[in-house]
């Protein structure tokens, strides 16, 4: 019984971690064709901002976390304008050199990886120079719940709830709002979206900002339970990338499904054989998924759906 609850809680924990780690990355990759290798450092910005907002400015925890997400979102917009779209440098170069100096990195996977990897190094080292090898952590709120001899952090259950809430909010945003309509149109066919009057440039900027804000919020949410050091983003990266690859093209559904599947694998193997084997099982699962479902879970579902419609 206790073991069953333990496993269920561990699943919720893994699910929340994978979904939160992957959400921002998945949105930016799915909609803009940009692989953001600085994703871990965006998480770092959110975590540090929230932590410093609590320890230095005495802001309430929830406010500090929202500030962490907001600041990271704004930093994401800045990154998009300067590095990804090159809109700001090009604005200056058009007026001085008479030509663009940056070709936008949309749908240029390898190029976007190199550029954001550079950004990642700068941010990690920048944090190390400015704040040292670690900063003071904020305490984990809410205490713990216990069943007999077994005790579990309430905050981790809150995280699971928040991750489901964020998934639902993201789903609503991309399927039920005018913004989501424009975003999906932009993903599927940029030229036609423009012909329909959509400002695709602005869509990319906002999308990158939203993806970054989610990464920042992830960092802020996990700030009380992970150690505050400049490389803290790295521990999110493996799960994030595996989830995006396994999830496939549909951003929200893919993240939710791969969070569920991979969360179950991670929880089961971690529970049985320890965290190390759990992570290995995660990677093996990703390899198997890539071999048999190269388009990811949602790509596979989409194929099945198309085939069924054709046979009707």
């Amino acid at each position: 019984m206790v073991n069953g609850i333990n496993l269920a809680l561990q699943f919720l924990d893994s699910f929340a971690f994978i979904v939160l780690a992957a959400a921002g990355l998945a949105i930016i990759f799915g909609i803009m064709g940009v692989i953001n290798l600085a994703h871990g450092e965006f998480i770092l910005i959110g975590a540090y901002t929230a932590t410093l907002a609590v320890t230095q400015l005495d802001l309430p925890l929830v406010v500090a976390m929202l500030v962490g997400g907001l600041i990271t979102g704004l930093f994401g917009v800045l990154t998009e304008r300067v590095i990804i779209s090159g809109a700001w440098p090009n604005y200056v170069s058009q007026r001085t050199l008479g030509r663009d100096i940056i070709e936008p990195l949309y749908d240029r996977l390898a190029d976007s990886m190199v550029a954001t990897f550079g950004l990642s190094l700068i941010l990690t080292q920048g944090a190390r120079i400015r704040f040292g090898n670690s900063i003071n952590q904020i305490a984990t709120p809410f205490g713990a719940i216990s069943y007999g001899s077994f005790s579990y952090s309430t905050y981790r259950i809150v995280l699971a709830g928040v991750s489901i809430g964020l998934l639902l909010a993201t789903y609503y945003l991309f399927t039920r709002t005018d913004f989501g309509m424009r975003a999906r149109a932009t993903i599927q066919d940029k030229e036609t979206a423009q012909a329909m009057g959509v400002n695709t440039d602005r869509m990319y900027m906002l999308t990158f900002g939203i993806g970054s804000a989610l990464a920042g919020l992830t960092g802020a949410l996990f700030a009380p339970v992970i150690s505050m050091q400049p490389t803290l983003g790295d521990q999110f990266l493996v799960e994030a990338f595996v989830a995006v690859v396994v999830g496939g093209p549909s951003v929200v559904l893919g993240t939710a499904l791969s969070g569920g599947v991979l969360g179950a694998i991670l929880a089961t193997f971690s529970n049985l054989y320890g965290t190390f084997i759990g992570r290995i099982a995660l990677l093996v699962a990703a390899l198997i998924a890539l071999r048999f479902l190269p388009e990811g879970i949602t790509g596979f579902l989409e194929q099945v759906r198309k085939r069924r419609q054709e046979s009707e």
Binding site: R182, R184, Q188, D189, Q194, M196, V198, T200
Partner: protein, 268 residues
């Protein structure tokens, strides 16, 4: 102007022909809606359009013809802003729009239907039409305009069907409906009847004529099929090697031996 002229002679005719066209335009009944001035587009070393002066009057229905690679699609993409001009200017309603983004040109009243059917296959018919309508209408007005656009496209009853499931002809109708739903003053259509059967062609021709006459929308239509061109347009512009080769009434262009020659020479 005999059909024995050499290639270089034909080139030298260019400016004269254009002058004639300009004279025609000034004597026209209505105001100029669109005017390109020395429009050049280069892709690397290849010049797709070369010094093109092209104009469309308000409410006019003009066809754009020419052999493959003549620069027709490039010209439309320059007008919409999908391509950035290498040189020259584009004026719309008297304003220089050369440096505007595509969506800004849309909001000024230029709308386009691309050559490749580019409805959103994974979105429903209703969602496809909602996209242009939501740019300027909300609530009840939005619902009404979406329903009207679907009806005009002859797709009532297909609202919740994925656009990718529609027939080719229905997709073309839907896409014209999406472009028209933006309530433009100028609608650019790139081969709207390519790959359609006779009945579907007639339906599209009728739709274009109706939009032109009832809503006063000016059209530029790229089309190869001379019967189709004759059925909708009065005026035709012929592009050849990226330059304006001829402009004039349909009958005149159709019977022009030089035009026939470039078409036969251009298609291998």
């Amino acid at each position: 102007m005999s059909d024995t002229e050499t290639e270089s002679d034909v080139d030298s005719l260019g400016p004269n022909v254009r002058q004639t066209a300009a004279e025609l335009a000034t004597g026209d009944r209505t105001e100029t809606l669109l005017q390109t001035d020395g429009l050049v587009k280069q892709f690397g070393g290849f010049t797709a359009t070369d010094d093109v002066d092209f104009s469309v009057a308000e409410g006019e229905l003009r066809c754009l013809i020419g052999p493959n690679g003549a620069g027709k699609s490039t010209l439309l993409n320059l007008i919409t802003g999908t391509y950035e001009a290498s040189d020259g200017s584009i004026y719309y309603n008297g304003h220089d729009i050369t440096d505007l983004d595509p969506h800004e040109r849309v909001s000024r009243g230029i709308s386009m239907k691309f050559q490749v059917p580019s409805v959103y296959g994974d979105l429903s018919v209703r969602e496809n039409v909602r996209l242009p309508v939501q740019q300027f209408a909300d609530g009840e007005e939005r619902r009404r305009l979406v329903a009207e656009a679907i009806e005009a496209a002859g797709l009532t009853g297909y609202e919740d069907v994925d656009a990718g499931q529609l027939s080719h002809g229905q997709q073309q109708q839907l896409e014209i409906g999406m472009a028209a739903a933006l309530e433009p003053d100028l609608l650019l259509l790139d081969e709207p009847v390519a790959g359609l059967d006779v009945a579907e062609r007639e339906a599209i021709a009728e739709r274009i004529t109706r939009l032109n006459e009832e809503q006063g929308i000016a059209f530029v239509v790229i089309e190869h099929d001379t019967d189709f061109v004759a059925s909708i347009a009065e005026e035709v512009t012929v592009l050849h090697n990226g330059e304006v080769f001829r402009e004039g009434p349909v009958e005149e262009i159709e019977s022009d031996p030089e035009v026939q020659r470039i078409y036969l020479g251009g298609e291998s």
